[in-house]
């Protein structure tokens, strides 16, 4: 456990920042929380709206089992208490994007109770600096629709595609103490959600957004008054909000002012927060149990199914990569930071072990290095993600197997990989076609070495005079003469012998 030393230096001394996040995560599900309408992102306005979502007269909500299941699985993934009895409440207010005139949410009896998330503050050495952030609760609720103010000069349009989409509101305890901790928490939460598959975590599409609660205090004092900055949609912005708000609050307090409990909005262009409404004009939401819905009661069979369906979670996976696969802490952390990467890596491992008839541990290091340097480098260059990588895990494993069994050198492997990326052909075929198999034929290599040494008499002399760094030059020239196909070990050996 690590104690944050993050402090804001004010005129009156040091200030500590206290942060809590309320994260709204859209539940991955084909259908909305209480209707059968679809939930795809980016559909034409008002094409994913059922009679229920539009709150037509007489329409009734029916809970979608899959949404509940996903929230329960998420709760289990953060070691939270799952409430076998929970209930939906109505939060009443009028707005044009809220067809029912109320949002169905869970105020009094949330689906998921207390849990926790371990955050890692040093990505190079994840276990060196960790901190546990408490989770207060997770409840499920409906999203609202969207107002469009740019479609008509004097009118606003309403798109109800999002109306009724299931959200999980994941409420942390006020356990974070720095922008870095807030950022690490949000990243870790997103990682977990993606592992569980309960939310795609795409903050730029709005499927995950955070309300950031910030207050400041003199270290050791009581909590200060907090502000809540709504709908912040990236990890970077969350960190920026914390930093801006904390400094703003310190300035206000040190100037003799008081912090007003209020809702604020973040403006990424100006990097500042602005007051939206204060507590005084807060709505009276008149929460009460939704009489259209029965209490949600979960049985043991359902809970067990949820538990069984949970994948290996990021922390466990990272430790396994380190301990069982022998990967470095950094590589293990990088490979497990994202569920898709870990899935890809594991497919690569499984294929590699199969082709090479070795254990996964034996192929792990080479696989990890290739994925993180060669493949990532290529994808970066091509502007692609792992998801649409032109080379799949199976093709990658074939390439690595050719290196491992000495068929090609690492250098040739890079060329082969480039060809794979360009043509989509597979490594064994490329090596065969282009005659790239490396040779250990000492006769041919000896001849090449002899020619290199003869052509570079001056350098041989310099080498013999003590400039040993030139050894690499002779290796390079020989490899070049062999068109890279010589076994580097044999080349080294023969050059050493020839220069002896």
């Amino acid at each position: 456990m690590t104690e944050s030393t993050y402090r804001i230096q004010g005129a009156t001394g040091e200030w500590e920042v206290v942060i809590g996040l309320e994260v709204h995560a859209q539940v991955t599900s084909q259908a909305k929380l209480f209707s059968g309408a679809a939930t795809a992102f980016g559909a034409e306005p008002n094409t994913q709206v059922s009679l229920v979502d539009a709150a037509m007269p007489g329409m009734l909500p029916v809970p979608n089992r899959e949404c509940i299941r996903q929230a329960v699985r998420t709760g289990m993934a953060i070691n939270a208490k799952i409430n076998k009895w929970s209930r939906f409440d109505r939060k009443n207010y009028f707005y044009a994007d809220l067809p029912q005139g109320y949002q169905i949410s869970q105020l009094y009896h949330p689906l998921v109770g207390e849990g926790e998330i371990e955050i890692n503050l040093d990505e190079k050495n994840p276990d060196a600096a960790t901190k546990r952030i408490g989770i207060e609760r997770i409840h499920v609720e409906q999203d609202a629709g969207k107002l469009m103010h740019d479609q008509h000069p004097t009118r606003s349009y309403v798109d109800l595609n999002r109306s009724g989409v299931a959200l999980m509101e994941i409420v942390s305890k006020p356990d974070m103490r720095s922008p870095a901790e807030a950022g690490a928490y949000l990243s870790k939460l997103r990682t977990i959600l993606r592992y569980v598959g309960s939310c795609d975590g795409n903050m730029d599409q709005g499927s995950m957004r955070a309300d950031v609660n910030v207050s400041v205090r003199k270290p050791g004092h009581e909590f200060g008054t907090r502000t809540e900055t709504k709908n912040v949609n990236s990890v970077r912005f969350v960190m920026a909000v914390v930093e801006y708000e904390a400094n703003r609050q310190v300035d206000v307090l040190e100037a003799g002012g008081t912090i007003v409990q209020e809702t604020r909005l973040y403006d990424p262009d100006k990097n500042e927060t602005r007051s939206m409404r204060s507590k005084e004009d807060a709505h009276d939401y008149r929460y009460f149990p939704d009489p259209d819905l029965l209490p949600l009661e979960l049985d043991d069979v359902f809970l067990e199914e949820c538990r069984q369906s949970l994948p290996e979670l990021p922390d466990a996976k990272r430790r396994r990569y380190e301990e069982q696969l022998g990967l470095s802490a950094y590589n293990a952390a990088t490979l497990t930071a994202d569920a898709d990467t870990a899935r890809w890596f594991e497919a690569l491992l499984a294929e590699g072990a199969r082709i090479q008839k070795k254990s996964e541990g034996e192929v792990a290091k080479a696989s990890a290095n290739w994925l993180l340097s060669e493949l990532y480098g290529a994808l970066n260059r091509l502007g692609k993600s792992l998801e649409d990588s032109p080379v799949g895990p199976e093709e990658g494993a074939e390439l690595l197997a050719l290196v491992a069994d000495g068929t090609i050198s690492g250098t040739i492997a890079k060329q082969v990989f480039e060809i794979m990326l360009e043509t989509g052909e597979r490594a064994p075929a490329i090596v065969e076609e282009k005659g790239l198999k490396q040779t250990s034929d000492t006769g041919a290599i000896e001849a090449a070495v002899a020619k290199v040494l003869a052509d570079n008499g001056d350098k041989v002399e310099q080498y013999k005079a003590g400039k040993e760094a030139l050894f690499g030059f002779f290796v390079g020239q020989t490899m070049k003469a062999m068109q890279g196909k010589a076994n580097p070990q044999v080349v080294n050996e023969l050059i050493r012998k020839a220069l002896a």
């Binding site: 007269p57 007489g58 029916v62 109505r90 009028f94 044009a96 009460f288 009489p291 029965l294």
Partner: protein, 494 residues
């Protein structure tokens, strides 16, 4: 030939099957009665073509020797709280004037699928809020009944299902749907000398019924006989996955199991339903009802429902609370009325739309509901009311340890003159005093006519049963019906 509009649902069904008359003859006869009864204002929309189309389909099926449906040949009225596809559905409010749903409520669809035809959409109290039909935006229904002795005062048909009760009593339809939140089937049935049953909460799907108070609203049939109620309820009831509060249970064969033999049954008489000052004629009818049930073989015991006196205040917290939220969707944004004064913003549009769209009683209940749910008052009102509701339900459970059924009056008075109670909402709310407790407990309850008072107006008795025991309720209703021999009908003046 008998007047086809005097026939019961069972008689129409069976006579049509027997070939005594065609379905079209039946539909035409009722259409004619509807068309000539404008003075009653029972319908908001008349749909004679729908009644004829269903009748023709039935006649055709019969001619072709195809299997007939349970309600083939039977035309009915539909309370205008049920959404009907392509037919204006208003809940008797200006707010929804002109609203034509693109969907059909579950209950109405079940009825049409069973072969019934629609005569029209029946008037009601606005959003089902009222006991006299005077809150309808489309003008009040007038009861076909009049006091004797040349008193021509227009009387209330009861409410909220007043269009249904008046239309059945006046032979404009043999049966109709109703909905009951605190007595809206039973009290109008009692006022007009017909029968109606509110089944156990959850028996009938609420999907597609304009919501008033979700935890109380139940659809049910209204008709002239107990048997007809059993027939209709069998079609209307049943599990609906689109209503989370719908009961996933098979629908019993209520009609086939009708029996007025009450041997082995014990009927409880709740002493709290006989307050000081109870109308003497109603008390006397109640006593007659007790004798009828004894005559049918039942034992009669006195029971206590100690929290009865809190039922009305509890109801008038819970029902408005739910209504205030349920009616929030009528905001002028997506359908129904929109009032957009010049230069109005969103909030102004809400205010103008809702000011114009809702009648005074609806506004009153929205305000009461908003108040009882507001911060600082929630626990004192809403939470407390929920606790009392639990106690009221427990009263019934304890009483049902000693008896199988309860017998009470349906309403504290006979029908009153229109306008008589309009000025005093509390006096109007008192109409529900005997019907509200069963609603709060979600129990099946039925009104059956028992006789006429000294002014010649019908009085009803109420039977309340255990949860899911509609059969017991119907059977006791049948026993009363057979003994009361209620054949009175309003003299035609319209």
């Amino acid at each position: 030939m008998t007047d086809l509009t005097d026939l019961t649902v069972a008689e129409i069904r069976d006579g049509f099957r027997a070939g005594d008359f065609s379905a079209r003859e039946v539909a035409e006869a009722f259409n004619a009665n509807v068309a000539s009864a404008k003075a009653l204002n029972a319908f908001i929309v008349e749909t004679p073509e729908k009644a004829l189309a269903a009748a023709d389909a039935a006649d055709k099926a019969k001619a072709a020797g195809e299997a007939l449906k349970p309600l083939s040949g039977v035309p009915i009225g539909m309370k205008d709280l049920f959404c009907t596809e392509g037919v204006q559905t208003t809940a008797a409010s200006h707010m929804l004037e002109g609203f034509k749903p693109t969907y059909e409520s579950t209950v109405s669809k079940k009825l049409w699928d069973a072969g019934a035809g629609m005569l029209g959409k029946l008037n009601l109290d606005q959003f089902a809020m009222g006991s006299s039909n005077e809150t309808s935006y489309f003008g009040n229904v007038i009861s076909p009944w009049r006091r004797g002795g040349g008193d021509n005062a227009a009387l209330a048909p009861g409410g909220s299902s007043g269009g249904s009760s008046a239309a059945i009593a006046a032979r404009l339809c043999p049966a109709a749907t109703g909905t009951d939140t605190g007595g809206s089937i039973r009290q109008p049935a009692a006022f007009t000398g017909i029968s109606g049953i509110k089944p156990t909460y959850g028996r009938c799907s609420r999907w597609g019924i304009v919501a008033f108070a979700s935890s109380l609203d139940q659809a049910g049939p209204m008709a002239r006989t107990v048997r007809d109620n059993a027939i209709l309820l069998e079609t209307m009831a049943g599990f609906d996955p689109r209503d989370s509060t719908s009961l996933d249970l098979p629908v019993p064969q209520w009609e086939a199991n009708l029996s007025s033999d009450l041997k082995g049954k014990t009927v409880g008489i709740p002493r709290e339903y006989r307050p000081d000052g109870l109308n003497a004629e109603i008390a006397a009818l109640w006593d007659r009802g007790i004798e009828w049930l004894k005559d049918a073989g039942a034992q009669v015991v006195e029971v206590s429902l100690p929290h009865t006196k809190y039922a009305l205040p509890t109801y008038y917290i819970i029902a408005p609370a739910e209504a205030s939220s349920n009616l929030a969707r009528y905001d002028g944004v997506r359908y129904g009325q929109r009032e957009l004064p010049d230069g109005a913003g969103l909030q102004d549009m809400y205010a103008a739309t809702r000011a114009a769209g809702f009648g005074p009683e609806v506004k009153r209940r929205i305000m009461i509901g908003t108040y009882v749910l507001s911060a600082g008052f929630y626990d004192a009102y809403y939470t407390q009311a929920q606790k009392v509701r639990t106690l009221i339900a427990r009263d019934f459970e304890q009483a049902f340890e000693k008896c199988d059924l309860l017998l009470t009056p349906t309403a504290p008075s006979a029908s009153f003159a229109l306008g008589e109670k309009q000025a005093d909402p509390l006096a109007m709310y008192l109409n529900d005093i005997f019907t509200v407790p069963a609603s709060l407990a979600g129990l099946p309850a039925m009104a059956v006519p028992g006789g006429l008072d000294s002014q010649g107006l019908p009085l009803g008795l109420q039977i309340i049963g255990k949860a899911l025991d509609e059969q017991g309720v119907l059977n006791a209703g049948l026993a009363i019906e057979e003994r009361a021999g209620f054949t009175a009908r309003p003299e035609k003046w319209w």
